[in-house]
Symmetry: C2
Subunit: 329 residues, 2 copies
């Protein structure tokens, strides 16, 4: 039973795992003590946490352990980037059944390590416990490098709405997997291993972004948070929502007829979650680099509707075709 984590034992596994992570300049004290000590050079720390539960957020049949490790890092450091901060450190809680193969834990760790290398952060601590449900808890820390955090409540009427990264690919990849259909590798890979544009969070802050967030539940649903926090509406322009070729190919493979593929792809861009693009509002005169795609405008909230029910995000003035999802329903 040495090939299960129950057989190997908690301490042996922790030792194997923690030896994988480089001590970056942000790490004052790494794993192995009661707590880690992380540098916070400007006197502030950005902090966010997420849980990934098997069967809800990933499936071992569809994602390798490495994919899950990548994703655990990506979705948390995307939140750090969405504040305009630089990813620094992670703490990872790992709850697993005793019969989980050691190889799964090791491949998960390799995925975490590889995505950390992309993001610039590293693992400084964690916890490992038994559970009937494989559950991964990630807390990510970040450094604002002296800048003000880019919150959700600063968008103003007239601001340009833009995103960077991918939109819709992860949802298309999930649909392909659910239907057991082969399709474009970009969509499958974006579902398994989203690639948030980490460094563009700080870039957006430097460009003067008035509001920003990580697109995890779908562009329309997530921009709704910006609208409610800022007391505005957002109107997206369908002409500006330009699907990537792989997304168009995926919706065709999934059965959208020739006349409908573009529209279905746009719906996935608006409603599909988990790509971890960054979406932001910028003052109207901002000169945006090409990798920021302008997709809409911030408009004044209709009198008396701000903060009420109903999605304050429209497409060409109409409610979007699809919505995101509530984890409990």
């Amino acid at each position: 039973m040495r090939n299960t984590i129950g057989g190997l034992g908690e301490f042996a596994l922790i030792t194997r795992v923690t030896s994988q992570f480089p001590m970056t300049d942000d790490v004052i004290l790494g794993p192995g003590d009661d707590a880690a000590v992380v540098a916070a050079p400007d006197g502030r720390t950005v902090a966010t946490t997420d849980l990934l539960v098997e069967g809800r957020h990933f499936r071992r049949e569809w994602s390798t352990a490495g994919d899950v490790g990548h994703r655990a890092v990506a979705q948390n450091f995307a939140d750090v980037a969405a504040m305009g901060a630089r990813p620094t450190a992670l703490l990872i809680g790992f709850a697993a059944p005793a019969d989980l193969p050691v190889s799964w834990a090791e491949e998960f760790t390799a995925g975490v390590r590889d995505e950390c290398a992309v993001s610039g952060g590293t693992v400084v601590g964690g916890d490992m416990v038994g559970s009937d449900t494989l559950t991964i808890a990630v807390t990510a820390l970040g450094d604002l490098q002296g800048r003000a955090p880019v919150r959700r409540d600063g968008a103003r009427p007239g601001d340009v709405v833009a995103y960077t990264g991918h939109l819709g690919l992860s949802a298309a990849g999930l649909a392909l997997l659910e239907r057991g259909v082969d399709g474009p590798a970009e969509c499958l890979s974006e579902h398994r291993r989203p690639s948030p544009p980490y460094a563009r969070g700080a870039e957006a802050a430097l460009l003067g972004a008035t509001a920003m967030l990580d697109v995890s539940d779908g562009l329309a649903q997530d921009l709704g948070h910006v609208c409610r926090a800022s007391g505005v509406r957002v109107d997206l322009e369908s002409e500006a929502l330009r699907p990537e070729p792989s997304l168009l190919e995926a919706v065709r493979v999934l059965g959208a007829g020739p006349g409908r593929a573009e529209r279905v792809a746009r719906d996935l861009m608006v409603a599909g979650g988990e790509d971890h693009a960054l979406a932001a509002a910028f003052p109207p005169d901002t000169v945006l680099p090409d990798h920021w795609h302008r997709v809409g405008t911030v408009v004044e909230a209709a009198h008396g509707t701000a903060g009420k029910s109903g999605n304050p995000v429209t497409v060409d003035g109409h409610p979007p075709g699809g919505t995101g999802w509530d984890h409990f329903r």
Copy 2:
């Protein structure tokens, strides 16, 4: 179904929960954005994480939701205190079945809030997801206030070993619950709601502690970590291990005969976990306040044994009577 968290929905529950927490001076940006921003006045952040899994770390039959909330805070801020730091902020991940009563989540939150008030920290962020297994992930942050962190690797031969807080009461409380026996309220309450001496972590740092940790798995097992990290041994003195009256009463209720009660109580002090006392090594000439109980001495590691298997902690020169436990075995 509005009385279950599935019926109420994720966003409504998050709103109810986050409104409970005061924004202390440490909170630059609280819940509701992609990430929180926490003050780190001396340019460093202490960070630690723990998972609590139903059936492994708590049982809904034995602990109220409030107890679990208290414990989730206590065990994490105890780790922060064990670095010599002041507790500042928590992030809480909450994974629960859809049929969990809303009242459980609310009482859990009240427990978290009350223990936060004791510790001085507050909740700045979190995540809420569905899961078949009720699981709570807590990350705690702290402020070293300009002091060096008290690590595990600084104990030197000749140092005095002392603890503050309680030892053995939680284990006795657990034994009472497991056997369905009524017993001293102090032990039951310490199991349900451990009361770590948070402020004494910073005190120990100011007193010059050379090593310190939170006693979570048992004094002997945890001091073993200090020994291995510091390359020393620790000899505890049974005469110095003075059980609290409630602990003695509990072991009598549990069946220890008149001649054995003291010895069983000492074994529980040495092997019992989850009281979250602080144990530390101090230079021999340190004048300790009365609430630090001297229980042993740091001695030189026998040649070639440091870091090897076998517990480097002895009682009167002999191996201790019991041991802690490995979560997976």
